[in-house]
Symmetry: C2
Subunit: 125 residues, 2 copies
Amino acid sequence: MNTHLLLVAHGSRLEQANDEIRRLADTLAIGSRYAGVACAFLEIAEPSISDGLRRQIAAGARRIVVLPYFLAAGRHVGIDIPAQVEGMRCQAPEVEILIAEHLGSAAAMRPVLLDLAFDCLGELS
Amino acid sequence: MNTHLLLVAHGSRLEQANDEIRRLADTLAIGSRYAGVACAFLEIAEPSISDGLRRQIAAGARRIVVLPYFLAAGRHVGIDIPAQVEGMRCQAPEVEILIAEHLGSAAAMRPVLLDLAFDCLGELS
């Protein structure tokens, strides 16, 4: 199945922060098993979630995983992203659009955090 | 050396989001090699960064790693957190306070994200 991944970030007024997300989507694409990997933004930056989904559908996506790049399970994760995804589900019912758990929920964040702290210490004595 | 870890998040008006951070700090403490692990908030929630550092110093910390729980390298990571840390360095020059790289900079985020997407798919076909 032609499955795409859409990394969804909040969007920032700092264009360099949005570019960080674009680069992250590019690195996720490397060696991945998705037919396509792209990013979209909930607000402020482009493309919007709808536009991001639309582009992937136009590129032939039959299934899309929306991945919320958010640390907290607040309103954006619980309401705003699902609402925009639902709108596209109505417009393109032939495409399966799934929403993954938000980043902050991943148990695997623990070792990432400990490694970051460790790198800054050099050696914990 | 008596080294502590201070996880610094933005702080939210949603108390459940702040509680998520507090629980994350608790899980980071389990089995870690730090003498203490705690969290603090840049704004809105308590304790503040200064209060968080002060408590760890009062508990005997000789070295503290401040770990920014932020995805983007914006103003908060680049200016606001370092400014608050610098204030405490002046007040307690005998304590070494280091600032780790922010979470979003970790290359190890890539597999975490791909795993989250994969979990939602079940099996990528």
